[in-house]
């Protein structure tokens, strides 16, 4: 059974690149364009890993992670932050919220797949 990964990003191009890369590696992918959209798509399906951008309209990534962690079905789900800074406040804030993994933007497909595979193999 293929594992499902959700990608949350307000940039359609990033969503597309990530989706193509992940599908190519054998994952199922759910796309969401911001935190609110993502929250609404969490129910009714099983998602094995959530990858989320930090800065997004409507609901930012950190709030989204906090909200998702409140849901019984997602409190233990691994979450990965896409950050532009390698270190710093945002990464720590993400970790505090519950996203223990991170990936620094810009990234290339192999880096993404490596990072994802450490958490969930297809």
């Amino acid at each position: 059974m293929a594992k499902t990964i959700m990608i949350v990003d307000d940039s359609a191009s990033i969503r597309q690149v990530v989706t193509i890369a992940l599908k190519g590696a054998g994952y199922d992918v759910v796309e969401a364009c911001d935190g609110k959209d993502a929250l609404s798509k969490l129910t009714g399906q099983k998602i094995n890993l959530i990858i989320t951008d930090v800065n997004m309209p409507n609901m930012d990534g950190i709030t989204f992670v906090q909200e998702a962690k409140k849901l019984a079905a997602y409190k233990f789900t691994p979450m990965m932050m896409l950050t532009t800074e390698t270190a710093g406040d945002k990464k720590q804030a993400g970790k505090d919220a519950g996203a223990k993994a991170w990936l620094t933007k810009p990234f290339q497909a192999p880096t993404l797949l490596d990072a994802v595979a450490k958490l969930v193999l297809p």
Partner: protein
Amino acid sequence: MSIEIKQLKNAAAHLAINGEMTIYTALDQKTTFSECLENNKELQIDLSGVSEIDSAGLQLLLFVKREANERHIKLSLIHHSQPVVEVFELLNLGNHFGDPIVLSANWKKT
């Protein structure tokens, strides 16, 4: 995600696990296992319905095995599903549990 308990005879039970054995189910499953450990001298756990098992699920099986040993309860795991076999193989745990693992012909052995 449920555990079906069949009381076989006096102090012997057959448990069939259906669905996943993950961190999301571990708490409930542990409660069920603990009760069964309380009341039986012999436990049979049927793993054929396990669709997914993660570290929490594995840890739970290790826990049940240890508790059973300490209380001199005869524990056997049977009908390991493919996800369970995969984890047992990864960690080389087949012998630890000491139960024969029967490979179904349908499984692709990689």
